[in-house]
Amino acid sequence: MTGYRIGHPFRFGFALAFLASALLCAMLLPKVAAAAGADSPLTLAADGSSASYQGWDLAATGFMRANSGTHKVTTLADGKQANPGYRYPVSAKGALCAVVSGTAVIVYLPAASAQLSRTSDGATHSGKADQKPSAKALSDFEQTALKATLEGLDGAASSATSLQSLGLPFVFTDAQRFRYHGLTCLFDQQVEAGSYYVVLKGSASDLEQVQFVDSCLLEPAAQVQVAPAPTGPAALGAFLSSVDLRPLWVSLRTSLAALVLIFVLGLLAAKLTLRVRHRLRAVLDSLFTIPMVLPPTVCGFLLLVVFGNSTPFGRWLEVHGIELVFTWPAAVLAATVVGFPLMFRTVRGAFESLDANLFAAARTLGWGEWRIFLRLMLPLAWPSIAAGTVLAFARALGEFGATLFVAGNYAGVTQTIPIALYYDWMGGDSLTAVFWVVVIILISFVVIALINWYASHSQKWMRPALSGSDLLPLKKPAQTLAASPIKKQAPDGH
């Protein structure tokens, strides 16, 4: 029986934990697979800023993709105002620049930076330019390498419309001023000190057609260090070391603090309701239980109304230096309020089921109410108290609605795991969300395993006390409390 009790939750927990880990791996798999498809001659850096192409003596570095330009009026160094026109920032002076218009990709190869080999073959530009292109001829290999490099870097920079998916023809030029159909591009323009732009001129519809601008520097491949993204287990390691673990600590800190409050207040409330008159008891009972029934958002709303500064009471608190809303104590308060009823209900149920004759007998022996509470009620109801504590802890750990309402989402302060999970997923960071799912499942598994282990142990030593006659347990529980299970195990354990 005992073996089953311990074994079963463990097996179930392992299954859950395995499932969760499998989920995390499945999320990582596409990344790994993408990186593993390394048959292509292109090597992309993990940060997406540089890339090298096998066999090409040049490599791209300092890549950036500007998705939107600006028409801003600029104040120049001499105090003059200038509006050079619609412009996109580029990565640096003398950068290779690709203007993606509606019909072609206009690539500017600055003569100074590109040490491209000159071939006699002039088939460099496939579009129909209004102006004769003056770009040095590129060999087929160089064109392929350059296209692949740009497309690779662009694809890594944005999963939205990518250069590759557009499939536009490439037009190469090395002229700083280049006209392609209605669009005039002024490359390598310094508008403000130290920052370079490509300035575009043309009709509104011509400018509208421009989708984005890629830019990067071309340097000798030997000088560019391309650190590719880690693959396989290394990718998992890199991910794990990059996860912000603060939500875990906030969650543990918050639910443990709440647990202390819940434990003390829950026991006292359970005792209090036992001793009060019937009608008042019904009132107190529903008051203490209602947070369990109410949606957590309602609790949160009520707490916000009470403690927020939109009510006289909240303002009075604020004047007296107690600011609760959006602080860590508010997170503890929210967790306490929603976790409390679980402790209260469980403990009160246990207290009620105790034999009243025991207490009457204890009183005849001259025991005070507090002695009875501490030495008789608590030990007898201990398994239920432990169960209530664990339930309340689990509830506090999982608290979301009320916490979000009163404590908000401040990383490292009030951002607990459930809140981090929600915001990570909604922020597009599904991988971190899955990580937190795995963490919560593992914590829950450990907690459940602990209860079961503890229950099987505590029941072993409680059994004689519970199965005794009415008179016998009067002394026995007191003894068993004094001789805690640890003490009992001590002789044979050490």
């Binding site: 950036m64 993709r65 500007a66 998705n67 939107s68 330009g69 600006t70 028409h71 801003k72 104040t75 996109y88 920032p89 990565s91 920079a157 944005s158 999963s159 939205a160 419309t161 403000e192 130290g194 920052s195 603060r246 603090a257 202390v260 409050l261 003390v264 207040l265 006292l268 409330a269 005792k271 209090l272 001793r275 009060v276 916000l304 927020g308 500064n309 939109s310 909240g314 604020e318 107690i322 600011e323 809303v325 959006f326 602080t327 860590w328 104590p329 503890v332 109410e369 908000g408 989402n409 401040y410 990383a411 490292g412 302060v413 009030t414 951002q415 997923w425 909604m426 922020g427 597009g428």
Partner: protein, 288 residues
């Protein structure tokens, strides 16, 4: 069972409550002093700027903040809150403290101004943005006009909640021009009967993007900038600018900020610094 006993029990409960609330408060004090860069968010802390920013800035703004701290090591940032502009304005009214507010619409900032949450003379228009209909990458929906959103192809359409999410309000304004939404302001109306059952109302524009990305909704109304910050979505249709109010992001220093000057400096940095501008343009924000 005696009265005195009951009274003493009650007294102990009270005493315990009191003791714990004291522990509580002292714990709060110590936790805020021990936290490093994540300063206590309630009162604005000297030297630590707390920003409340529109959800659409979630990826770009932290990069600009990092750039700013690099150049100004004495300035720290608290954990920036990225939510729907309407939520941020409500939170400020509800007692949350911040130094800088950046909204995604003029009307949200107007509300903050009416509430007395911002210093009106510090208000500045920061960025412009465009409204687009997003689809999952590769979905290939052909949307040629706004009217096409009524098509049966789109069983679920994600739109930000008009009252709290500016992107939703702009979308509703556009939908109002083709009779699918009842109020021209995009906030106070309701969707037409057939259309309403398709609309999934989200609490931030990021949620809209995520619902489209995950495939739970076929299309959604987001900003162009969201296309660049969310993997897996693309533009299906650019909503004509004349169907909704101009999309402008105003920023302003909050009332009662102890970092008013530092916040103002950061605001100016965002608009004038060339490096910052690179980041904005990377994420699709045009600096105004």
């Amino acid at each position: 069972m005696s009265k005195s006993m009951r009274r003493s029990a009650f007294g102990i409960v009270l005493a315990a409550l009191l003791a714990f609330s004291l522990c509580f408060l002292s714990a709060c004090g110590s936790s805020s002093s021990s936290s490093d860069n994540a300063a206590t968010p309630t009162s604005t802390t000297p030297g630590t700027i707390q920003i409340f920013a529109a959800n659409s800035l979630q990826k770009a703004l932290p990069l600009v903040q990092a750039l700013y701290t690099q150049q100004h090591p004495d300035v720290k940032f608290a954990d920036t809150q990225f939510k729907g502009s309407g939520d941020l304005v409500s939170e400020l009214q509800g007692g949350a403290k911040a130094d800088l507010l950046i909204c995604a619409s003029e009307s949200s900032m107007d509300t903050a101004n009416t509430n007395g949450s911002i210093e009106a003379n510090t208000r500045k228009d920061m960025f412009t943005n465009d409204l687009v209909i997003a689809e999952k990458t590769g979905a290939g929906y052909k949307i040629n006009s706004l009217k096409d959103v009524e098509s049966a192809k789109y069983a679920k359409i994600a739109i930000g909640q008009g009252a709290a999410v500016p992107a939703g309000a702009y979308a509703n304004q556009a939908l109002n021009t083709i009779g699918l939404y009842s109020a021209a302001d995009g906030k106070t109306g309701s969707y037409s009967a057939d259309f309403a059952s398709k609309v999934v109302q989200d609490s931030s524009v990021g949620n809209v993007a995520q619902h489209v990305q995950s495939g739970d909704c076929q299309i959604g109304f987001v900003y162009t900038s969201d296309i660049y910050r969310y993997p897996g979505i693309q533009v299906a249709y650019k909503v004509p600018a004349n169907t909704h109010k101009a999309i402008v992001y105003p920023g302003a220093v909050c009332t009662g900020s102890v970092n008013a000057q530092a916040s103002q400096d950061f605001l100016n940095f965002c608009l004038t610094n060339a490096q910052a501008q690179k980041i904005w343009s990377e994420y699709g924000f045009a600096v105004k």
